[in-house]
Amino acid sequence: MSARTPARRLPPSGALGLRAAALAYIGLLVLLPIIAISVRAFEDGPRGFLAELARPEALAALRLTFLCALGVTLFNAVVGSIVAYTVIRYRFPGKAILNALIDLPFAIPTVVVGFILVLLYGPRGIIGAILKSNGIVLLNNQAGIILALLFVTFPFVVRAVQPILEELDREEEQAAWTLGAGHWETLRRVILPVITPGIITGAALSFTRALGEFGSVVLIAGNIPLKTEVAAVYVYGQVESDNVRGATAVSLFLLVAAFGFLTLFTLLQARLSRHHHAA
């Protein structure tokens, strides 16, 4: 689809230097802290590590975190794609503003997000008061966690799908129409195959971000161990109570899981786009 990169034309020594610098940078910035966490987590051997992970509070926090992250990611994959399509394909007043709004969740400090959500959805908030009179509570429970995660992860899928849709030939879509394909068929056979790699990229980012989210969730979730405490909040509690091993064990688990998922998503994406190009 895109032209081959001209980077290949760099002299071998320059390319080597660039590669070494990039690797060193990643090593220092990303790998070193991860190694440090691993060293700490295994301070008392694998048995100590497993014992920390097996604590009921740790297990419950991990389970809750993964379930919420998964739910949020699936939701984002669908709604994010629809939003991206809408923004690209239709004209309506205020489109530029809407487009700018999409990225805002990245710019707001997550603690502020949590704070604002509590203000809005709390019993004295504008929406919260209405919800409460209808017997709905979105605070201090799993719904609150999902709400916070949806807000902070919203841009990922939209922004991953949008450029692909922009590249997608409008004529291809119209050709499908004129050839008698219905709405659904055009979507399934023309649009979806092209944007799926984008959805996967966005979903992967959204999922891993949701795994580690702290600031927005801590204010809205309730943070009750075994019930509404997510992994990042659990880790914070362990750090604060001098249980470094417990904190690093759960962190390492999150890291490995995130790494696994990211790799899986990348492989999946590569496969799909190859498949699409071959077709």
Partner: protein, 332 residues
């Protein structure tokens, strides 16, 4: 290889967040105070200005750092050179002794090392609509309780100790576990600190927040929609202060630091604490301020319950009563 491991160990040390003193070059006349969060107002507005005025040895600079008691303790241990520590509980002070930062006997002076007191109380909505008078009332169905997480909040440890103090003292561990589980089942949110808990309460969440009496009184002064209830039985909170020998000797601030700790239990210092809702430790000030404070039927000190070491193990160990209470609630 060893150097690498050391570097890694350093990089992963918790609580490096202490505020290093910016004016540390001018030490000798600069006093650095490492305090727990709740004392910010009383220290900043009254005690530090009062001390500066009363100190005979010339003009004094004071730097202040406020953090949750446990985090402050960790900061000091990992190298934040505070001259005086003012903490929420004596068990944190003992950690400084263990780290050999305090080498003298700190449990001296008129308060035996303690400079202020408070009680664990309830903050409820105006008019106390749910009629919450004592701990068993907090176990009733539909009562929403706020208390911070004891893993991050020293205040929460006092709260939880107060919940089961009667049971521990009179009826034993199983009774203590029962009331802890029953109250915990009604806890709807565990914030990081007592102050955050009060903010949550002010958002309209919860029927009762368990907190320090001084914190409650400070809130009452600006929020007319709340009420303070002293439960029939509760725990006497005592807050210690001490000079950190290692740091004052290194920085040449011993005389200044000792004068400050003495000032905390002076008549002026104690009256400042009282004005901010704390109970005094000095008998004379206690006598003159007694009318301002209500008295519970049964008041336990932490020594009555076996001291922090024993209470800490019984309640807050990984599989202590508080954790067990949570698991009991979850398995219902």
């Amino acid at each position: 290889m060893r150097a690498v491991t050391a570097l890694l160990a350093l990089a992963t040390l918790p609580g490096l967040g202490g505020c290093g003193g910016a004016g540390s070059k001018t030490r000798g006349k600069t006093l650095t105070i490492a305090a727990y969060t709740v004392t910010r107002e009383v220290l900043g507005r009254e005690i530090i200005p009062g001390f500066k005025q009363s100190f005979a040895g010339g003009p004094v600079q004071v730097e202040e750092s406020y953090e949750a008691s446990g985090a402050q303790t960790r900061s000091l241990i990992s190298g934040f050179e505070g001259d005086v520590a003012l903490l929420s509980m004596s068990s944190d002070m003992e950690k400084l002794v263990k780290a050999k930062l305090i080498t003298h006997d700190w449990k001296t002076g008129p308060g035996k090392g303690m400079v202020s007191r408070s009680l664990v109380v309830f903050v409820v909505r105006k008019g106390n609509p749910k009629g919450l008078r004592d701990w068993p009332d907090l176990t009733r169905p539909g009562v929403e309780v706020l208390t911070p997480n004891p893993e991050t909040s020293g205040g929460a440890r006092w709260n939880i100790t107060a919940i089961c103090a009667d049971a521990l003292k009179q009826r034993g561990l199983e009774a203590a576990l029962q009331i802890l589980a029953a109250v915990r089942a009604n806890v709807i949110k565990m914030d990081k600190s007592g102050r955050e808990s009060m903010t949550t309460f002010e958002f309209g969440i919860g029927d009762v927040a368990i907190t320090y009496e001084n914190e409650a009184r400070a809130r009452l002064a600006r929020d007319a929609d709340i009420e303070i209830v002293i439960p029939r039985s509760t725990v006497l909170i005592e807050n210690p202060a001490a000079v950190l020998d290692v740091y004052v000797d290194r920085n040449g601030t011993r005389a200044l630091a000792e004068a400050f700790v003495t000032y905390l239990t002076s008549d002026d210092g104690q009256r400042a604490f009282v004005r901010h809702g704390f109970r005094p430790v000095v008998p004379k000030i206690e006598a003159e301020s007694r009318a301002q404070f209500g008295q519970p039927e049964r008041l336990y000190t932490i020594q009555d319950l076996g001291g922090w070491k024993s209470v800490g193990q019984t309640l807050f160990d990984k599989d202590g009563l508080w954790a067990q209470a949570g698991r009991r609630v979850a398995s219902r």
